[in-house]
Subunit: 420 residues, 2 copies
């Protein structure tokens, strides 16, 4: 029984006030009920996932198929993830500021739910439960619109979520599942003015760009990361090698992986040959995939590698590829980053506190590191407990979006007849 | 010498990092220099204003002409306003959160400037200096695009601002003035992706709607206020009369003025006749303009007035007109507000703490009042020191936007070689 996207949105909006009025304990119980349902509905979820896998694994390729695959262990992980979210402090109702005015008015700024949060995502079915748990914990109804490859898996997980909500005495409409994976349904969400309070696209650059250009509902830009590491003249070179290798290779497919290395000319002749060995022969010796280096002219004069093309300093490779350029100074590195970065994460490796200070002051990205890997840009690693994605925009939320970033606020003002 | 809008934006973006790196003292000095220049350029500003007035006062009508008019006193007021903004705490550089992680990473969330803030506004020339002062104090370059009636006045004020910036050793491009008041230039700003970090429309509903629908740059919805007052069964009726009269008539043309009164049926027969006297005969006796009442069927059965038409509960009158309806309960009032409010400001008048609690919990507007006038929704009245407008959206900023709401943040992370 398919429901239209608009009906699902209206039902979620109508149900949202019930959740907004729910106590922290009720929300906590509801998340635990959902976590239980994921386990008790495991057979149905696995069977739905087998059908998705049968239809799509040949066309998806190994990496994407692995993302689509569910196992009892992965479902147990999803269930545990919901319990983790349940255990986080409730973000709703916090008094963010309180002032008593000279006229006696008491002005409180209080965290409140956003209302309806919609997520458009691509292949991984675990996003269905992760995203729903965070949105519901933040007191908002959630609209889930996943990709076609995971449709049956997502539908089965969404059903478990809705059963869990019912178990806890909450309306199942709080978790709306869009039963249409066409571009049309994504567009419908982008244009659902008055029915969606926040739209979060999680996926490729094309999806995110479409949201930014078309959305008439409030939307947060996530994810694309052309992350830079700058090895300064005063870098500890061993540290720089460790950080570059980690940021590039520990998980090349994620948005906080590094794509570009900038090296100060004062150390380039010494550092680049070490880098080249570390990322190629050395990795192969360890049985690991080597990194292809795409070199600007000055780097190419020092080490072997591919000549960088025009687009190589503006590409999110998401692969074992690193663009490398030599720069003249911290300021030159800052300028390069300003011209090419997507505003996600950048790092400087240096023992010079002044250089570090100039870099962190001037680089305008969501996360700026001194002597650490860009891979730490993550809600858990930043101590937020969880995350709904990494915002690369400057309004509302920047960097990892945790529960607080999934709420709004309002002013509640108590008086005794004050007029102006 | 006209410059194209795009060139002005590019110059502002290029200059923005200079201001972002400026010390609080430098910004403070720059604002004082601007305040001085407004006074020293007073003759040029008054002369430009006379030309605007000559061209437009006949077509504008008395109220709008008065908004356009500048006098030495008003310029002194604008100059003093800039000094007030200068004296506010600098919002940039505040450490909003700091955590040391188990791995030794120190994660700081630090307030940073947005970059370039653009304001599209209509007739009042004082917005030119008010908006510029706040944006600059918040560390951002500002783009000013006013209405055609005030073009010469705005240009003269912008020139004084740019002279002040130069006096303080800052690039005058930090205050860009768009020398084109056509719709085309507003559209150009809405679509200037990558050049504007925040666009704030200040003006009529048409302008705000156009921004919401077309803007490809981040935009904050301001202003439209269909504000409600609910007189509960347990209202102190004298207090309710004072609050309704104040909220409706103290300044009917502003967004925090009340447009709709909801009255609990239990007090309607007693309260509405008192209200009718207070807002009509009584006001006329005091030499004040009476309020036209537009009544739903139940109110019309109790007092004389105009029968409310279909749109009267969805109209921002901005005039001496009040729509009045009788409701059955707090919940009925909450439902009416959810269906008709623009999310600006609403008030309950009641001596019943439980009714007040239900109302403030359920009404999802930027400001919700108990026993006070909606007219207090204002940056100064809320203790923010100033404001750039009232946001009626839920992301980033809600209610009065002060200096903090005009900043973003980024994470600055210090390590000693951590990898993940």
């Amino acid at each position: 029984m398919m429901s239209g996207t608009r009906e699902i949105l209206k039902a979620a909006k109508a149900a949202a006030p019930v959740l907004a009025a729910a106590s922290p304990e009720q929300k906590h119980r509801a998340l635990l009920a959902i976590a239980d349902r994921l386990l008790s509905e495991q057979d149905a979820i696995l069977s739905a996932n087998r059908e998705d896998m049968e239809q799509y694994q040949d066309t998806l390729g190994a990496v994407m198929s692995d993302r689509l695959l569910l196992t009892p262990e992965r479902i147990a992980g999803m269930s545990a993830g919901i319990r983790d979210a349940a255990a986080l402090p409730d973000p709703v109702g916090r008094v963010l500021r309180r002032t008593e005015r000279p006229n006696g008015l008491v002005v409180e700024k209080v965290a409140v739910p956003l209302g309806v949060i919609a997520i458009i995502y691509e292949s991984r079915p675990n996003v269905t439960s992760d995203a729903a748990a965070l949105a519901l914990k933040a007191g908002s109804a959630v609209i889930l619109r996943g990709g076609k490859e995971a449709f049956r898996s997502n539908a089965a997980i969404a059903r478990a979520i809705r059963l869990g909500l019912s178990d806890a005495g909450l309306p199942p409409e709080l978790a709306g599942f869009v039963e249409d994976t066409s571009r049309e349904s994504a567009k419908e969400l982008m244009e659902a003015e008055g029915l969606i309070d926040l739209l979060i696209p999680r996926g490729g650059a094309g999806l995110i760009r479409a949201c930014m250009e078309r959305a008439k509902v409030p939307c947060i830009q996530t994810g694309t990361g052309i992350c830079h590491i700058y090895a300064d003249a005063a870098a500890n070179q061993d540290m720089a090698l460790d950080i570059v290798e980690n940021a590039k290779t520990s998980r090349p497919s994620v948005c906080n992986a590094a794509e570009v290395l900038l090296v100060h000319r004062a150390i380039a002749a010494e550092f680049l040959p070490k880098l080249q060995r570390r990322l190629t022969a050395d990795r192969e010796g360890r049985g690991l995939p080597p990194v292809e280096l795409r070199l600007d002219g000055r780097a190419a004069a020092l080490i072997p590698g591919t000549a960088a093309g025009e687009r190589d300093f503006d590409t999110e490779f998401l692969d074992y590829i690193l663009a490398v350029a030599v720069v003249d100074s911290v300021e030159d590195a800052i300028r390069h980053i300003a011209a090419h970065s997507t505003g996600h994460s950048e790092a400087i490796v240096t023992e010079d506190a002044d250089a570090a200070e100039r870099f962190t002051r001037a680089v305008d990205s969501a996360a700026v590191y001194v002597n650490a890997s860009t891979r730490f840009t993550d809600g858990g690693e930043f101590g937020l407990g969880c995350e709904m994605g990494i915002s690369t925009q400057k309004l509302h939320a920047r960097g990892p979006m945790g529960l607080e970033e999934l709420t709004s606020y309002r002013y509640i003002v108590h008086g005794h007849g004050q007029i102006r």
